[in-house]
Symmetry: none
Subunit: 402 residues, 2 copies
């Protein structure tokens, strides 16, 4: 409520519920205080299922447990087995816990305890007036696994016949939202009653189809794929990096990265994917000219005559990374992330990419691209890393079609 921490709980929970055909109808964000009980009372008048997140910690502002207990006339009871776990948690870390953590072993009478494997505060489910009240801790690292392993299965059991909403998202790179809409919307709606949504990001758009009709969803999906082709890089949760790692793993190819302006972000994104160690062995962050020369064999003459931010430098970086790493594909990025460093001919946002490839016959090729991205450092880095991953993807996709 102070604007210091972004609340991501609603987005997360809605995403989890959508595939079950369930939607959150109302979400409240409220400060710690008596208002928690007020909002719970209002919600009990309206809803059958109430999810409360946060306020289960050991500090003085964590009063949710007590307020829920009072509101539902279910006095708090000490659970010795939880107390034991909390003490073990701290003992393992060789920390003497303050007495206040023991508050977390208190659970409203009659509630079912939800185990927390990633922290000390357990959650609980209380049945009151035939309604389910679920309380979960706020930190996402605790909330998410508890929701997925304990709450979601229970919700599924409670709603066995709910009409399953089918939702499919096509992730499109290199095309604007209005172009996607213009090419598809009328034709999709002609196929039947499908809900179409768009979510635009920098040089990307998610196209979302929602329906309860399996056959219609397939027909729509075919139309989308036939129309947008390679511009679709993933479906639903499929990120660009997961697609690249999967394609490379399928083809047993090895990737390398040579990054200047993105500072390691391309490598970071690749290594976010489990199993990436099979396809990615080495990456370089060569932020200075010296590092480019020393680690990637970029020639000092190239840097002097074309500058560090140039197609030539990008190309030599990619070729250097390819050679040094022994990979089949290497991508290189050099650009101006800003806010400083821009010139008239190369303003902030200028990016050069290069993709070097060692082909099956041993021949080496290299192509470069120039882009002009937005002058915002963090978004520039993100867009640049996405462009580099897309270069990998298209090269791998091309090979898979041969």
């Amino acid at each position: 409520m102070l604007g210091l921490v972004q609340n991501s709980h609603l987005g997360y929970i809605s995403q989890q519920l959508l595939p079950l055909g369930l939607r959150v109808t109302r979400q409240h964000t409220i400060p710690d205080g008596q208002i928690i009980a007020d909002v719970l009372a209002e919600a009990l008048d309206r809803a059958d299922f109430i999810l409360i997140t946060g306020g289960l910690g050991p500090t003085s502002d964590d009063i949710t447990r007590q307020l829920v207990a009072t509101q539902c006339q279910a006095p708090l009871e000490l659970h010795p087995e939880i107390l034991q776990k909390i003490q073990t948690y701290f003992a393992k870390r060789q920390i003497t816990p303050p007495d206040s953590v023991n508050l977390q072993a208190l659970i409203p009478k009659g509630a079912q305890v939800l185990e927390n494997k990633h922290g000390t505060a357990p959650g609980f489910i209380l049945l009151y007036q035939n309604k389910h009240i679920v309380c979960l801790p706020g930190p996402p690292s605790e909330l998410y696994p508890m929701f997925e392993t304990q709450v979601l299965p229970m919700i599924k059991k409670l709603n066995p016949q709910s009409a399953v909403l089918l939702c499919r998202t096509f992730r499109v790179y290199g095309m604007g939202e209005s172009e996607v809409q213009q090419r598809l919307e009328t034709r999709l709606l002609a196929l039947g009653s499908v809900e179409i949504g768009y979510c635009a990001r920098s040089r990307e758009v998610d196209l979302r189809l929602i329906t309860t009709d399996t056959v219609l969803l397939e027909a729509c999906s075919q139309l989308v794929q036939a129309t947008l082709g390679d511009s679709i890089y993933g479906q639903d949760e499929g990120s660009m990096e997961s697609v690249v790692v999967k394609l490379a793993a399928d083809q047993q190819r090895l990737l390398a990265t040579a990054e200047s302006c993105t500072g390691g972000l391309v490598a970071h994104r690749l290594t976010n994917i489990p199993g990436s160690s099979a396809v990615f062995h080495s990456g370089w962050v060569t932020y200075s000219n010296d590092a480019k020369i020393r680690d990637l064999n970029v020639s000092p003459q190239t840097l002097e005559s074309h500058g560090a931010v140039s197609a030539q430098t990008a190309s030599e970086m990619a070729l250097g990374a390819l050679e040094k790493s022994g990979a089949n594909l290497a991508v290189a990025l050099t650009g101006i992330a800003g806010p400083e460093g821009g010139t008239e001919s190369k303003p902030v946002g200028t990016l050069f990419l290069a993709l070097a490839e060692k082909h099956a016959d041993g021949k080496i090729s290299c192509k470069t691209e120039e882009k002009r991205l937005v002058p915002s450092r963090e978004i520039f880095k993100l867009m640049a890393s996405q462009a580099a991953l897309d270069l990998f993807r298209r090269a791998l996709l091309g090979a898979s079609k041969l």
Copy 2:
């Protein structure tokens, strides 16, 4: 409500209001539909000032304008000057607007129009039952400037004597929230009426002090600093990476990174900070054993006898990066991010860090640390990168005190 777009309005508005001593007491997130009128009716029972964001666009799901008009018995009226602006907006972009955009020229009777310089949908302020209802468009690029230039000044005028709330956040690393509370809360409250808040993240906590009393805030801040010392890495918005880059720049020192399990995240975070190119020239992502040997001079014997995930390997990686880069400080990370790759003695979550330092007298030292982090790949990488940045920070802080 589908979980596809993150709602950042509350955070933004709360941050804007806090310096005025004002807080949002309740926020609702609701879908487009009749519920907008229901929630408005409820809010009119409770609040004097109601802010509604979103739903003012030209598409069929944008019904906020109509529902507010009906609820407040203020029928929509066409404003020709707005219509003119909308048509000019599209003409400039050489687009023929669909008729539906003209809906945006409708404003509830008696409402004050809020001009939108960044889009076509104007906002408005309606006085109803002596309460202010403010409607603003949802896109942040339109909402933020309208809020700051038109709504905030009006709120200030309505609350001329509101006490200015002072808020200070201490960012603490390596300490749990209950430990911070135990060491500080009673002593802080003994100093005066200060509001204390905690926000816990993985192995971190933000301690927040809020008061209207400048003298009290300074006294509390001194107590916090004297008690937590080096564990405080930043204040307010200061991230770990920004602190590290600033300290290194002040001391004209050069940093290098050698990353295995974090896959470039440490370098990415450092290079997110403008000006980082002065203190960071090169980083390595050595994901395979071969890359560690080839690029960082790790000895094959070390890898064989101790394994890639070991203090010895971390240490040789850091020393190799220090030597190759010519930096004064190099950090290395090797660990098991999971989900695969864990063993009994080195489970998923195991991390070894090393910090190699070249001192002013030319001597080189290296220290290592072992940590056991959470078995979640992305959170592991984040926590590991934070631990590495903290090693940099403490080394730089130590040097600055000599």
